[in-house]
Symmetry: C2
Subunit: 202 residues, 2 copies
Amino acid sequence: MTAPQVARAGSTAGADTARTGTGTGAGEGTGTPAAARDTVAGVVRQWREVHPELDTGPMEVIGRVNRCAALLQQAEDAPLRRAGLSRAEFDLLGALRRTGHELTPGELARETFSSGAAVTKRVKQLTERGLVERRGDTRDRRVAHVRLTEAGRALVDGILPEQLAYEKAVLSALDGDRQGELAGLLGELLSRLEGHMQGLRR
Amino acid sequence: MTAPQVARAGSTAGADTARTGTGTGAGEGTGTPAAARDTVAGVVRQWREVHPELDTGPMEVIGRVNRCAALLQQAEDAPLRRAGLSRAEFDLLGALRRTGHELTPGELARETFSSGAAVTKRVKQLTERGLVERRGDTRDRRVAHVRLTEAGRALVDGILPEQLAYEKAVLSALDGDRQGELAGLLGELLSRLEGHMQGLRR
DNA sequence: AGCAGGTGTTTTACCCGTGAAATTACTGCG
DNA sequence: CGCAGTAATTTCACGGGTAAAACACCTGCT
């Protein structure tokens, strides 16, 4: 969540940069690469016409990641809104549920990739709704502990299967094998990005 | 950009749902799947411990797409901010540059996946900065036409190569072949999502 | 011609997230 | 003990996005 709103609402990616592979890749042999009938392909084509000298390769990847994320999130939000939760709120509740224990605001911020200020606000709202409770730490009075109420736990447990089913349906656009390949490639990229990310901040 | 802020700022994905493949997929043979040392893997593991009966497969894909998008966008924003532009502004300018001709606010909204209201605001700001100009349509006085100024065009052309180089560096975490595979898989998913997306709005 | 209905754009009101400052509290050291 | 330094959390001011309402204008029908 902390990341530039990949998630939240409107979402991002749109007309981003995208490049075609470094020569390798996607072609399936048949006329159109089979996967190339997406918005990003069109955008890349336009850039190539205007700037034929540029290597548009990265756009193909990054543009698609962004756009997929946007669409997937949009889809995912539907079931949540029906339960009256925003994605950010669900993420917070989910963090509490999956860790199985109380978390401090700071931990929640790290866990949900959002700012401390955002956590403060969300916790306040969720407390008012009776989904979450807070208590001060007895030793260190600076810190607070947030935990799910019974209602909160029930809400998460009720939504989660629905959410997963919905995601499964959306992903069915890709067969099982491809989903696995995709998860693998993304995981590889992700683990390296998360590793030496700070090193690239020019 | 219109999509639910995959992009923008704080970014989203965080503690999202993610599933492990449907049996196929990522394993490389060696102990840890090689790609499984990312944040998402940990989150999925937690969910599985708490809800062993649920199929966490979709999380593996969707969670990673979201998280990758968040990190990539965060990285991409760096070069833009140095030029004093937000990603949304750059997308708008980029749409004008790559299409090569004037666009109406409505077209800009569609092209950048954002709301009309957002376009109105951005165009106003960019006009004040002298990067863009607007003129009313002579036939239909409801519509406006927005075009790049010379300064705007120069700015985009100056930033783009830098942006692409930066993206290329970030993606170098994956070798060329894998980038191609990834682009292919994402393109396939994306084209189907974009196709029958509206059909899933329960 | 005149108006009902539709379309393109802007305005309005509001929500939500952020960074920086403020607040409160702990800790180690002289 | 008392204070400088640091840490956890909240408050503040603001930017940017959205949906819905308001506008302005066109078009087709009678």
